[in-house]
Structures are given as C-alpha cells and as structure tokens.
C-alpha cells in the first residue's frame, strides 16, 4: 500500500481547467489532445493521470493546464501546445517558458500559478477543492478530506454542538442577506414540527456573477456534505438543490454527485451506519432572477409562480409546504465542512469581527485579471481591484466599482479603501450581494449605468407589489429621459422620493434594494446627472443624444485606426494627416473614442 502511494505521488498529474470560461476558450480540445496523446504512449513507464477540473478562477488566462507535483501552470493553452508540454514537461521535467504567466511589472516568468499576484492574496475555503479535483469523481473529493466532517459530526458531535460550532464561527449567509447561519439552523431546530426541509439556493442570477456556478460545477460534493451536516442537526430527511436552469454543467455534475453519494452510502438510509437518513433532489429553476429570493424559490419548488411573500414569519418556521425549512446559498454550504473539520476558531480568525471567513467574488468589467477570487473579508476594494485584479487596462482611468449585482450600488475611487464586508458595503449604499464586482472605467456613463441596471430589474422584478413594479417603471422612464437629454432638475428629487418609498415599502429584498444603482450614482456622481440635464452633455460620451465627438488636431497622428473602425464612414482624413469627424454622419457609437491610442478623440 505504501509502495503504491509513493508511485502515485510521483506520477505526473495533468489538470486541465474545464470551467465555463476555459471551456469556452477551447479547454475541451486541449483535454482531448492530451487524452489522445497520453493513451498508450510508449515513452512513459507510468502514464500521467489526466483530470478535467472545475474553474481555477483565472478565466482571463484560460485555458489553464496545471502539472503536478511540479506545480507548473500554463496559460492560454491550445491543443497545438500539447505535444510540446508532453515532450518537455512530462518527459523531461522542464517548463515550457512561452506558456508560463509573465508578471507584467517584473517581466519575469512565474512557474506556479499560486505565486502570481492574482492568487497570492487569496485564501481558499469555499473554493478549496476547485481546480484540484475532477468534479465528476467522488474519490477525488474523498481523497482531499471529503465527507470527513460528516463522519466527525455523526461520531463525535451532538446536534447542539454542531450549531454551537457554526455560531462560534460567525458564518453569515453568503447569498447576500448575511444572516448568521447558526441562528438560522437553531431557529429551525427549535420549531417543533416535522418534517423539516433543507434547501440549497443555487439560483445565481446576477449578470456577470459565477461564484455559485463554479462551486456547483467544480466541487458538488461539498454542497451535499454541508447539507448532510444540517440534516443531522435538524433530523431532516429531504433536501433540494435549486439550480438555475441555464447551468447545464452544474446540473450534470450535481446529478452525478448525488448518484455517487447514494452509491457510497452518503445519501439514503442509515448513512455511515448511523440513524441519519437523507436524500437530495435536484430542482431546475424556471429562469427567473427573482427566484434567488428565498420565499420565491420556495414557491417555485412548490410549483407556483416564483413570487415572494412577506417574510414576517421566517422559512425556518414556515417554509417549503408550510414546514420548517433551512435555506442556504451554495457558498454557505461549501463553508460548513471546513468549519466542522478545522474548527470555528480558525474560521473566525479570518476576516473581520462582524463578517468572519472569506468571500468569493467574481471580478469582472474593466479590470486586467477578470476571474473568480476568494479573499478574507475585510480586504479593501483597492486590494481586490489593483493587487489581485491588476487594475484598469489600457491606461484608462478607474471610475467606479459596482458590488452586489444589479441592485448593488456604485462606489467611486474616493471610497476604494472601504473594507469589503456585509456591514460596511451596506452602510455605503451598496451591498455585498452574492459577490459580484464590476469595475468601470472613465468611458462609463453613470446615468446610463443606473438606467441599465434599473432596466434589468424592470424585467426581473416579480411584479407583485406596487412600489417595486411601478417604482422601477417610473425610475426607468425618468432615467431614460435624462439620458435622452429631456430631463429636468426636478427629476432628481422625484428619483429620490420614489427610491425611498421602494426601499421602505417593497415586499422583498429585490424591491428594497432595486433603487441602489440610482441612489448611489446620485450620491457620488450627481454632477453627471446635472451635466445631462442642464448642459445637455454626456461627459463620458456614452448617451448618443448628448454626445459630440471631435478629433483634437494637436494629438492626432493620422494613424487611420479610427477611420478604419468607424462603422458609418464618418471620419475623413488621409494617412499621416489630421483626421476629422463628419458630424452629420456620426452615430455616436464611441468606437473611435475607445480605439484611439493617442486620446485624440474627445468628447465635447
């Protein structure tokens, strides 16, 4: 046995990231090439193990291939590169330099992905296994300590001790609400009615967010284990994982994981020879954003339209089919096994006092390193955007960052040293939400941003209560007219008044947070609103009705880049001579403005 272990640890492992981003960039072809070329390869004594893993997070650099145990990571790998990797790295043990990550500042090649700036400040708990295991293999999960926490609670802990541990860890719901998980479990346990139900909320709907997706696609068993621990506490027998319908890969791996867990005796009767019996059903959502709201999600599982109802009585008392129910987000569940195994103190030592632990963020928008990051709470926005994300690309200026999905607020550069935790972000008029971070540069019009997100919510509100449905309709109508240059100064007060009522009177959190984009941009970028209304000018050059572009003859080098990219031939000028925009023809798309390398195209 020891002999076999030795061989295994010395055998090369080739791990191809097959997360959604890498797959879109051709990871499956890379995987197929490895499979083809490693199979029956006579040059190997022991053929390397090939694994398709979940998302490594650094989607910007995908497809990523990691070679273990040497810990060499390659970026932007194509199927054509496979021969060279096999030949040089797997057979000769040397890295292929041109595929390594090159530090943009130090200009040095970095062998291990873990030594890059992108990874160095990260601390992985919820994502601990992702990128390291094959999500389709329960053995991989078990090899990395999977289901040990379940064994521990079954053998060594009483339900109350488990709750005590979760309470001590200070874990708060990662779906956005930030409600203490331990209190939720305790409330449900104290409701003396059975059956009780357990739900995993995997209806991730924020545009540009893929935290839960990555966990479901990359480490499905951690969710099952978290739910099992809760089932033991509550004596629940049925659980549901509600997955957003568009997440095909997540559905595939979760389905596989549930089948494998049943086969291995982790789901079903007498789990691990104890009295625990629990099984999980997979429910596919119907495509509504609002079903991420827990009462709407519960309605949806029951077969009704996904409309929230007032939460004056919590689901822990009256949830699914009127029974006591614990509903937690994917990332919350992924934290549970770690808290049980490593102890609450260790978890609580990370992050801040009010928000312990780590949080996964999807970092997207105008930032160099887009991708998925897991960082300790309390880290500043600046660290996330500049140290991990590498800042704003192409020499553009940072303008604002939006946190918390479509109903989050926009935070300006002056507030970049804000600590990222539940309470700080809420206090500043934004929110943690489920963890979306969208970076915007100076080519972004903040009025248009507010209009865009409010318009998204106009289609995704459930439409049940008046303040949310009609309030959003009013906000969109007012914002649209401001963007068209038809706004009046009194509109600003109207926006504020309607927003205030929406925040106070809406039925669910969607409506109560829906005015955040409007209120935060009004607070930090009121001058842009005024420029739109009074000067009839869009300072960022985005709103077509209010934008005029011109070319500064001092700066123009006559490189013809703008002329070649103009979709309507509205730019005249010969090579190496000053160019000019023909205003009548210009459709104000901004293509020249964004393309110009000399910042010669200006907004009037």
């Amino acid at each position: 046995m020891k002999e076999k272990m030795k061989i295994e640890s010395s055998v090369n492992k080739v791990m191809v990231c097959c997360g959604t981003g890498c797959t879109a960039n051709g990871a499956r072809q890379v995987l197929a090439a490895f499979m083809d070329k490693l199979r029956d390869n006579p040059n190997f004594e022991v053929v390397p193990v090939l694994k398709a893993t979940g998302c490594n997070g650094w989607c910007e650099k995908g497809p990523i291939v990691k070679i273990m145990p040497q810990d060499i990571s390659y970026c932007h790998v194509k199927a054509e590169d496979v021969d060279e990797i096999i030949d040089r790295t797997l057979l000769k043990g040397e890295p292929v330099k041109r595929l390594l990550y090159r530090d943009p500042v130090k200009k040095e090649f970095v062998t291990s992905i873990h030594q890059t700036d992108f990874y160095r400040k990260q601390h992985k708990i919820a994502l601990r296994n992702i990128g390291e295991i094959d999500p389709g293999s329960i053995d991989d999960y078990i090899e990395r300590g999977g289901y040990k926490a379940l064994k521990k609670v079954l053998k060594e802990m009483t339900p109350d001790e488990v709750i005590e541990e979760i309470l001590k860890s200070g874990l708060r719901g990662r779906g956005g609400g930030g409600f203490p998980t331990g209190l939720k479990w305790q409330a449900c346990k104290n409701t003396p009615r059975f059956p009780k139900y357990i739900i995993c909320n995997g209806d991730e709907g924020d545009p540009g967010a893929f935290m839960d997706r990555s966990v479901m696609e990359g480490d499905p068993h951690t969710i099952i284990e978290g739910m099992l621990i809760c089932a033991y506490v509550l004596k629940a027998e049925r659980g549901f994982i509600y997955v957003r319908d568009e997440y095909d890969l997540a559905v595939k791996y979760l389905r596989q994981a549930i089948l494998d867990a049943r086969e291995h005796g982790f789901l079903g009767e007498n789990i691990l020879k104890s009295d625990l019996r629990f099984d999980i059903e997979l429910v596919r959502g119907g495509g509504a954003f609002v079903c991420g709201e827990e009462t709407a999600l519960i309605k949806s599982i029951e077969g009704y339209p996904g409309e929230p109802h007032d939460k004056y009585v919590f689901p822990t008392e009256k949830g699914l089919w009127g029974q006591p129910t614990v509903i937690n987000n994917v990332e919350t569940w992924a934290n549970i096994p770690v808290i049980i195994l490593d102890g609450a103190e260790k978890f609580a030592s990370l992050g801040t006092v009010g928000s312990p632990g780590t949080k996964v963020f999807s970092l997207v928008g105008k930032v160099v390193n887009t991708g998925l990051v897991e960082v300790p709470m309390g880290i500043t926005l600046r660290e996330i955007i500049y140290d991990i994300g590498g800042g704003v690309p192409e020499g553009r200026q940072f303008k604002a960052v939006q946190t918390g999905g479509p109903s989050g607020g926009c935070i300006p550069a002056s507030h970049l040293d804000l600590k990222v935790d539940f309470d700080t972000l809420t206090r500043e008029g934004s929110m943690m939400g489920s963890g979306g971070i969208i970076v915007m540069d100076d080519t972004t019009c903040m009025v248009e941003v507010a209009r865009y997100y409010t318009n998204f919510l106009a289609g995704e509100s459930c439409g049940k209560c008046t303040p949310c449905r009609e309030g959003i309709r009013a906000l969109v109508e007012i914002l649209t007219r401001i963007c068209k240059g038809e706004g009046e100064l009194s509109d600003l007060q109207l926006l504020r008044d309607i927003s205030e009522v929406m925040q106070e009177a809406s039925l669910c959190a969607l409506g109560r947070t829906a005015p955040n984009p409007v209120l935060s941009t009004l607070r930090f970028f009121e001058d842009e609103y005024i420029a739109h209304i009074v000067e009839k000018r869009c300072p960022a050059g985005v709103c077509p009705a209010l934008t005029t572009f011109y070319i500064d003859p001092e700066l123009c080098t006559g490189c013809t880049l703008c002329k070649r990219n103009c979709p309507v031939d509205a730019i005249k000028g010969e090579a190496k001579k000053k160019h000019e925009i023909i205003e009548d023809k210009c459709i104000r798309c901004g293509e020249c403005y964004r393309r110009c390398r000399f910042k010669a195209v200006k907004v009037r």
Binding site: D310, Y312, A458, A474, D497, A505
Partner: protein, 246 residues
C-alpha cells in the same frame, strides 16, 4: 392578547393580522388588494403601517400580512406612512390611467399622477383580487403572468381556458372594471371564451352559464331542480322562512 394601536390598547387573537384587528376596531387603513374573504396578499402596499420593536426601532410593515403578537406596538398614521401612500397613489394613478377609481385615489391623496407612456387605456391596478376570486369561487384559471413591469392578469397562453366556467366572479370583484364582459344575444363573452346563458325560471333574467351550474352541482353534490337567479332565489328562501315562522 393585547396590542397597542396608536397608543390605544386593543384585544387581538393569535393568527390575526394587524389589519384584521384594525378593521374590527374601526381603525381606518386604506387597502386596494385586501378583501375579507381572502388571505392578505401584501401586494398593493397601501396598508403599510409602522411597528415599534422592542429596541424602539420603527419600521414599515404590510398590515394585511403582519401577524400580531403580544405587546405589539402599531402606528397607523405618520409622516412616513403618508408619504408612502402618496407615492403609491401617484404610481397607481400613473399606471391605471383609464380607471376613474385609480384617478380618484390620486385626488384623494392630492398627488399628480406620474403618467406612464403606453398606459393610456389601462384600467387594471393589479390588485389580484380576481385571481383570488377565481381560485375560491371558480376553477383557478386566472394568474398573474409574466414578470416585472410586464405583469398582467391572464388565462394560460392568453386563450379561452377549458376550465373557465364563465362565472365572472373575477369581473364582479374587480374594483376598476378592468375585466371585459360582453353579454348579448343570450351569450356571455369573457376571457377569450363564449358561453351560453341560462335564463332564470322565474323572472327570465339571463344569469348563469351551464358550465357554472355544472360546477356548482359537482361541488355541492346536489342537482339543481330549478334555475333561479340570485334575486329570485333569495325571494324563494324568504318565502320558505316566512312559512316556517308562521
């Protein structure tokens, strides 16, 4: 249990909502989506009141869904509540431009409606009472379909529903007359479907559809011998009572 409403102590029973207690105590709270026959929906939000929790914090809650608890403190009128109702009135009247009922609400709250584009012929305020009526009285064919600003009341696929019995309970409960019912030549057209009408055996008034009669017969398990309209049925019952009391 005892609860405080506007500094007045009143009796309340477990399971009641704030609104139910207020109605019994003759404390006025405006509502649009509430009907005593149904459970509170919390949809229109006109019935928002303030409650004061144990730490002295005030917050707005929908009185039609908020369950009372011992010692609960409720405020039914304040600046915040007034502002909320005013804004809601402005939005509702802005949406339901063709409904005199909705315009009266705006007048009552002295607000200028924020008229939305494309809603010039809209009467519905989406109070959803018709859905409740259809569920309780009819065969549950109505639903609030679509999402967000496109929400509207419809039958499945906006077609005549097989299960619809044409009882028009929906139209009768509608506060704004938003549900179109056409009755002519012995027929009733409602929700994309045409029904025959049965005449009252006594007065000859057309009053019900055969589907409706069958639905009632199936539900009650009793065959109707004589089809009488509501008025004639009442009169007949009164006669019977009179006979017995003599």
């Amino acid at each position: 249990m005892k609860i405080m409403i506007d500094a007045r102590e009143v009796m309340a029973y477990p399971g009641e909502t704030i609104l139910e207690v207020c109605r019994r105590e003759n404390i006025f709270i405006p509502t649009l989506c509430y009907h005593p026959a149904f459970k509170g929906q919390g949809a229109c939000r006109m019935c928002m009141v303030e409650i004061i929790d144990s730490s002295g914090q005030k917050r707005l809650v929908a009185s039609c869904t908020y369950p009372v608890s011992d010692g609960l403190k409720v405020i039914t009128s304040s600046e915040k509540i007034k502002k909320t109702r005013k804004t809601l009135a402005m939005l509702i009247a802005g949406r339901s431009q063709a409904s005199p009922f909705a315009q009266e609400i705006a007048e009552e709250y002295k607000v200028k409606p924020l008229f939305f584009k494309g809603f010039e012929n809209e009467k519905c305020i989406l109070c959803r009472l018709c859905i409740n009526a259809c569920e309780e009285m009819g065969s549950a064919v109505l639903a609030a379909v679509s999402r967000g600003v496109d929400k509207r009341i419809e039958t499945p696929y906006a077609e005549g529903a097989e299960e619809c019995i044409g009882c028009k309970a929906c139209a009768e409960i509608c506060p704004t007359g938003a549900i179109e019912v056409k009755e002519e030549n012995g027929q009733r057209i409602i929700w994309h479907k045409t029904f025959d009408l049965i005449k009252c055996a006594n007065c000859g008034k057309e009053f019900a559809t055969p589907e409706q009669i069958k639905f009632i017969e199936d539900k009650t398990g009793r065959k109707m011998e004589k089809f009488l309209c509501e008025g004639c049925r009442k009169r007949q019952t009164a006669e019977v009572i009179k006979e017995f009391s003599v």
